[in-house]
């Protein structure tokens, strides 16, 4: 596990790609601050969402958990370790400077209810029973292979982890069908993860035409903005808080249920909106609207409400 911010992750992007391709579990906390470059290093943003989702060269994509509170930072840290080991891949926990460095009230953290998950790790006894194993073979149909830990006392335990092309036995290969098979298995593993990640928090409003979609610390401004919209404008909106990437199918259903969905986020380029557009049904893409806040200060309810009201007036 390592904790860093955007620049640290940019610096180590090559390692994250290695982790993805060699399938090494790692948990990375990103306390997002304002970029690009050194940016506003003491100010807050949600500017690393798109970069981390697809970090490193080649076809790569990574699991992300997105907490909105200190309680969720704690529970998602626990979950991130389990997911990293179960899916043998890097997992980002997307905090931000507001959450990571300011004082927050909290109800207290809950003790984990489940034992730690170490995923598919074979012991020397397992290897005796199986007679060996293929590191990158999809035995169970979920895209996840079995691994051994260094130091396992068995002549069949060792393998060479490499960032270069490899076959199911972890041996160097440039064969086209081997490369494609491996890349497709990694994509399948990513799909397996989709339904295993924290679910979105969805608050439906009966018959609402307007939906609001947000994530992370933007949540707190949305809670207040939903009140303002109802009291000041008489608009009752649905709300969906995305808590992970890849994005749950429930989120796409939420978008489909609303005529207009305002994606509120703390960056200039509508990064979550871009991720949604990559996967949303073409027919629903036109429902997505964007509300952006990127001046380095935590987003406030009034800015969100005003932006939604202004855009609603044009509809």
């Amino acid at each position: 596990m390592t904790a860093t911010s955007g620049p640290g992750i940019s610096l180590m992007a090559e390692f994250v790609g290695l982790g993805y391709y060699t399938e090494v579990p790692v948990v990375i906390f990103d306390v997002e601050r304002v970029g690009p470059s050194t940016g506003l290093p003491t100010r807050t943003a949600q500017g690393d969402i798109l970069k981390n989702a697809l970090l490193s060269h080649g076809d790569t994509k990574h699991l992300m958990l997105i907490p909105c509170s200190t309680e969720e930072c704690f529970s998602m840290a626990v979950e991130a370790f389990d997911l990293a080991e179960e899916f043998q891949t890097p997992v980002f926990v997307m905090s931000d400077l507001d959450l990571g460095m300011n004082n927050w009230m909290a109800d207290g953290f809950d003790y984990p209810s489940k034992p730690m998950a170490r995923g598919k790790v074979l012991s020397a006894e397992d290897l005796d029973r199986l007679g060996g194993f293929d590191r990158y073979k999809d035995v169970d149909g979920d895209g996840i292979g079995y691994r051994t830990l260094p130091g396992t006392k068995h002549p069949k335990a060792g393998f060479l982890t490499r960032g270069s092309g490899h076959n199911e036995q972890a041996i160097y290969s440039e064969r086209p069908e081997v490369y494609v098979g491996n890349m497709d298995r990694l994509a399948h593993k990513f799909e397996t993860a989709r339904s295993r990640l924290p679910k979105p928090e969805i608050q439906d409003a009966k018959g609402a035409e307007v939906g609001v979609l947000a994530y992370g610390t933007t949540h707190w401004a949305i809670v207040e903005a939903l009140d303002q919209l109802r009291k000041e404008q008489g608009v009752t909106a649905g709300y969906c808080r995305v808590r992970a990437f890849p994005i749950s199918l429930e989120v796409f259903d939420f978008i489909h249920r609303h005529r207009r969905v305002y994606v509120v986020e703390q960056n200039r380029d509508a990064q979550m909106l871009s991720l949604l557009r990559m996967e949303v049904d073409a027919a629903d893409a036109g429902r997505l609207r964007s509300v952006l806040h990127y001046n380095g200060l935590p987003v406030d309810a009034r800015s969100v409400t005003d932006a939604i009201v202004a855009q609603e007036a044009r509809n």
């Binding site: 090559e14 390692f15 290695l18 207290g108 953290f109 003790y111 984990p112 034992p115 730690m116 051994t148 830990l149 260094p150 130091g151 396992t152 006392k153 068995h154 002549p155 069949k156 335990a157 060792g158 393998f159 060479l160 982890t161 490499r162 960032g163 270069s164 041996i171 160097y172």
Partner: protein, 349 residues
């Protein structure tokens, strides 16, 4: 009926853990024929066989480059990790921290170590992480057609005639100055010296840094190169004759008083340095650095064990880790009970 009596097959030589030398081999090398790196892989195989190293206890680690491909060519049964360019040290550190019983055997090159990886290299040296760090040093980037690396000597010439006008980084001097505790230089073609130095390095419990001059037959083995086979053979100036005596062999070595130095390593194995210059003390940092500095002026390649310190605590000692490998600790030892979390929460209310 005639019968032919076949002679019984010659018994295969096995080491003290019951393995043959062939058990320490890897896949067939894809490096150029005659590459010094292949000779180093062979010495690693021999050293591990002779010491009776159990392959499951070894982690082979490397970065990127010709050198870094070589872990596939020895110790097939061991775990290996081919990291990103210049960043084998961080992977080695993680490996040893999560399992302190593992022997980390790192293979890097001069490009991997002395340019992109120099930041990681210096911190590994100063931490004195228990590991072997081999630099397969050919003074050039062999995978990209032989451009000079940062260990190329001043005045050395490329095949194209380009002359190197920047001074080399002496990785041995750097390692000694930073705190590595076993520092040596050798030549891939000197089987006896390299084997003894490797065996000593594998037994040493601290950072053992071996810079092995390993000629690149494709791009840096011509007239005018200072890392060619012929140049190294002509200029090799061994500091001493090195012999390694493992702790499990009861061998006494005869030498006249004052003609050899004997160094006892952590497990009781010994390194015997014969014909060592009478005024040279391998426990003296300043002397080692003086020797290396002087060798740059003469252009001679001094090889041998420059520096050793068997007393300095290594990184694992300093961290005061539990004896059991961290990677295998059960949940009862890695997750504090609910009462601990409750106590922390109560203290914040």
């Amino acid at each position: 009926m005639a019968t032919t009596i076949m002679p019984p097959p010659a018994p295969k030589k096995v080491n003290r853990v019951g393995l043959e030398q062939a058990d320490y081999k890897g896949n067939k090398s894809t490096l150029c024929a005659g590459c010094g790196h292949n000779a180093i892989s062979e010495r690693i195989i021999e050293a591990c066989f002779e010491l009776g190293v159990e392959p499951y206890r070894v982690a082979k680690l490397s970065g990127i480059g010709c050198s870094s491909k070589s872990p596939a060519y020895f110790l097939r049964a061991s775990h290996g990790f081919n990291a990103v360019h210049g960043r084998m040290p961080s992977v080695a550190t993680g490996t040893v921290l999560t399992n302190r019983t593992i022997m980390a055997l790192g293979v890097s090159g001069d490009g991997d170590t002395a340019s992109i990886g120099i930041g990681q290299f210096v911190h590994l040296m100063r931490r004195n992480l228990p590991c072997v760090y081999i630099i397969e040093d050919n003074g050039c980037y062999g995978l990209t057609k032989g451009q000079f690396s940062a260990t190329a000597d001043l005045g050395s010439k490329l095949k194209t005639g380009v002359v190197n006008d920047l001074p080399p980084i002496d990785t041995c001097a750097l390692a000694i100055q930073l705190g590595a505790t076993y520092v040596a230089r050798s030549f891939s073609g000197d089987k006896k010296q390299l084997l003894a130095l490797l065996e000593g390095a594998l037994v040493h419990r601290g950072t053992a840094m071996l810079d092995v001059i390993s000629p690149c037959v494709s791009f840096n083995d011509h007239e005018g190169s200072t890392k060619s086979y012929s140049y190294v053979k002509d200029h090799d100036e061994p500091l001493s004759d090195v012999s390694f005596i493992p702790y499990f062999e009861d061998i006494t070595v005869d030498y006249a008083p004052g003609t050899a130095a004997e160094i006892t390593l952590h497990d009781g194995s010994r390194l015997v340095l014969k014909k060592l210059r009478s005024d040279y003390d391998p426990h003296n940092k300043a002397e080692a650095l003086r020797l290396l500095t002087a060798s740059h002026d003469t252009g001679n390649l001094v090889t041998g064990l420059f520096y050793i310190d068997t007393e300095r605590p290594n990184f694992i000692d300093l961290l005061n880790l539990v004896d059991a490998p961290l990677a295998t600790l059960p949940e009862s030892r890695t997750r504090p009970p609910k009462s601990v979390l409750d106590e922390v929460m109560d203290s914040l209310r």
